[in-house]
């Protein structure tokens, strides 16, 4: 019914506001409210997982992802990020590499995973690729990461 749809968009408006303000506890509640009436709302589910990540509840997030494969088909990045933060870098790398084509965010995560796995040569290549092809507010931080990779390559080579 249209009343239901109006209600749904009101709930999404709430969710959107909390997300923009970085109020992830509240966003999580709003997302759950949507999902309790519309269990197949993919975007609400996505917001729920992002909220859990922002709240550092990586175990919970990964649990919900694996219990809801249908809603999680586009959440490769989120899944791999949880695995990375739960100190499962091998699994995280597998998850990332399950994608045919890596988006910038997946490349960024892959670089960090390779660093954790001490695969510095490949890590270096990924960073060089990202730095060449992105422009955002984190270029200094990214170059700091690149120099950390270089430092480790030097230690390895010595």
């Amino acid at each position: 019914s249209s009343a239901k749809e109006a209600n749904l968009s009101a709930l999404y408006a709430e969710l959107n506001k909390f997300g923009q303000n970085g109020e992830y506890e509240r966003a999580l509640k709003a997302a759950n409210k949507i999902l309790s009436s519309q269990a197949d709302e993919e975007k609400a589910f996505h917001c729920k997982i992002v909220s859990l990540i922002q709240l550092s509840k990586f175990n919970d997030a990964l649990g919900f992802i694996s219990k809801n494969p249908k809603l999680s088909s586009d959440l490769t990045f989120e899944k791999a990020y949880c695995q990375y933060r739960l100190n499962q870098p091998q699994e995280a790398l597998k998850t990332v590499n399950s994608e045919q084509q890596l988006s910038v965010k997946l490349k960024e995560l892959k670089a960090q995973i390779l660093y954790r796995l001490e695969q510095y040569e490949e890590c270096f290549d990924v960073y060089r690729d990202i730095i060449k092809n992105t422009e955002d507010d984190y270029e200094d931080e990214r170059e700091t990461n690149l120099s950390a990779v270089l430092a480790n390559l030097c230690i390895e080579g010595s």
Binding site: C47, E108, Q112, E141, R142, T144, N145, A151
Partner: protein, 76 residues
């Protein structure tokens, strides 16, 4: 030899050479220097978790005015 029995080099630092050392069977054997000498090691480089910046909500635009759009398409 230059290193007589009076040498205070602990056993751990002269494993390659044979020498009778009565201190080893005494109550205070000179086996290892404790605490060990300080030595510099490379520090852990600074490394930022930039991937976290990418953990963000999808665009909810279509959900916000979704009802209105559907209303339009029904009318049209």
């Amino acid at each position: 030899s230059p290193k007589g029995p009076k040498s205070r080099k602990p056993l751990a630092e002269r494993l390659g050479e044979y020498r009778e050392d009565p201190s080893l069977t005494s109550k205070s054997p000179n086996v290892y220097r404790l605490p060990p000498d300080m030595k510099p090691i490379p520090c852990k480089p600074l490394f930022f978790d930039l991937a976290l910046n990418w953990a963000e909500f999808p665009s909810l635009e279509d959900k916000l005015d979704g009802a209105a759009k559907k209303g339009q398409s029904n009318a049209g």
